[in-house]
């Protein structure tokens, strides 16, 4: 077996030159023809490769200055959230939810009837299980004295959080009778929404007592979450250690 050695000095220089060049130039071939290589460099006046901006950032180039970054483009809505739990509780089908996510907040009245049907369907489920004629078990005005149409109009049509700049912010505070002035991390928004849906006039209609189903609270609270922190107010992520 012969050993091959590079004995020529010129060859060594050549190979070192190639190596240095490759550090600063990245080859990319993303054409369909499979045999045309595109040279990308930090000096070609184009944002290419994994650059964050024109000739900057990414794995090869110096970090971008702010005025080099590219924020061009038209961005199209894919998801939206305002009032908590609206889509989860009222979105009856995937199609409805998909349409809701790409709808404008001011254009939601089309969903009001769907939402009202959803409420009736929930009541029908429980009527059937309790052996009550479905026509005899229906939504009753809630603690805010909203009928079904008002309730579903507010849930569908005004699907935004209201947040007050003056005064305490809360989704629901029974103590000071304040509602819908914001949403704190600690607010039990799902219980309040359930109470509005199933609680009737005093909030206790379906609270699990007197052989009624428990539909006004899910039984889950903050647990060991700490919501007393300063900015950014949310706890550090859980780790496996």
């Amino acid at each position: 077996m012969k050993n091959y050695k590079i004995k020529s000095y010129k060859s060594n220089v050549f190979f070192v030159f190639i190596l240095i060049t490759l550090i600063f130039i990245q080859c990319k071939d993303d054409d369909d023809n499979g045999n045309v290589i595109e040279l990308i460099s930090c000096d070609d006046g184009i944002q290419n490769g994994d650059e964050d901006g024109i000739d900057c950032g990414g794995s090869l180039c110096l970090p971008c200055q702010d005025n080099q970054l590219n924020f061009d483009g038209n961005f199209v809505q894919e998801d939206i959230a305002g009032r908590p739990g609206v889509n989860i509780i009222f979105g009856i089908t995937d199609l409805s939810k998909n349409n809701f996510n790409v709808s404008e907040v001011a254009n939601r009245i089309i969903f009001q009837e769907d939402f009202q049907e959803v409420i009736e369907s929930y009541y029908d489920i429980y009527a059937i299980s309790l052996d009550i004629p479905t026509d005899d078990l229906n939504y009753e005005n809630n603690i805010l004295n909203w009928n079904a149409e008002t309730f579903t109009t507010i849930m569908s049509n005004y699907d935004a959080l209201q947040v007050a700049p003056d005064g305490p912010t809360t989704y629901y505070n029974a103590t000071n009778n304040l509602v819908f002035t914001g949403r704190n991390l600690s607010d039990d928004v799902m219980d309040f929404t359930l109470k509005l849906m199933f609680g009737g006039g005093d909030g206790t209609r379906f609270d699990g007592n007197n052989d009624t189903p428990q539909l006004t609270t899910d039984g889950v609270g903050l647990g060991d979450r700490d919501f007393t922190l300063s900015f950014p107010y949310l706890e550090a992520p859980l780790t496996l250690e």
Partner: protein, 237 residues
């Protein structure tokens, strides 16, 4: 008539069950966004430790298990997150605060008047801008500038709900009992993380708040003026 209604009920909730893959609180989202980089999990707005400020929190791509899944979760440079503020009461955004990733940071623009409202947006590069380095599971970065504060990165999931039991209720499997009592309930979100964007803004930058929408619609009386706010995610075409 009763039979037809029963089939309708079963049919509707079978569809709901089939559409569920991930769960979250805007969370159980439609299949066109679930699990994607534009999936908004939840949204909060409240007064800050400084009562002259309002804090906006958006959780994105929730339901992250601790460990590798949290470590590998990243914001998408093609996804623009927008906090929308309506300060006239017509539910069209008057101001936006935009957030988008570039490199290892989130760049914020605004609060500023958007060039266009509704389902499409461009980034307001001429508006006041700030940036914050994206935090990791080990390091927290915050930017405090011009009276505003900014954070972006993984956080512990703040939402709480017995989501599995709710699914049972939705498809009729929990009747007649309904939800569990506290000692038997399960918080689906208890041991999970999420990506979060948090912005704290002086109210002076948000304009005057309009009459509370529920007050002006006659639904509730005695409420203070309030902005209408929501968060959207938009993907670059």
């Amino acid at each position: 008539m009763k039979k037809r209604k029963l089939f309708t009920v079963i049919g509707v909730f079978s569809l709901l069950l089939l559409s569920l893959t991930f769960m979250s609180l805007d969370h159980v989202d439609a299949t066109n966004v679930t699990g994607t980089s534009s999936d908004i999990a939840d949204f909060y707005a409240f007064e800050g430790d400084n009562p002259d400020n309002t804090v906006f929190v958006a959780t994105i791509q929730g339901i992250l298990s601790p460990g590798g899944i949290t470590e590998n979760a990243v914001f998408d440079e093609d996804v623009l997150i927008e906090f929308n503020i309506d300060n006239t009461g017509d539910f069209v955004e008057d101001l936006v605060i935009q957030a988008i990733k570039r490199g290892d940071s989130i760049y914020f623009f605004g609060p500023a008047i958007p060039n266009q409202t509704g389902l499409e947006s461009g980034v307001l590069t001429s508006a006041a801008s700030h940036l914050v380095q994206i935090s990791s599971t080990q390091e927290t970065f915050i930017t405090n500038e011009d009276g505003m504060s900014f954070f972006a990165g993984p956080r512990r999931e703040p939402s709480y709900f017995d989501f599995n039991r709710f699914i049972d209720i939705s498809n009729g499997d929990a009747a007649p009992a309904g939800f569990y009592p506290p000692e038997e309930s399960t918080d689906f979100f208890l041991d999970l993380n999420t990506l979060a964007i948090v912005v704290e803004v002086p109210n002076t930058l948000l304009g005057n708040a309009p009459p509370h929408i529920l007050e002006s619609q006659g639904a509730i009386s005695g409420l203070p003026p309030a902005y209408n706010v929501w968060v959207s995610s938009k993907r670059k075409e």
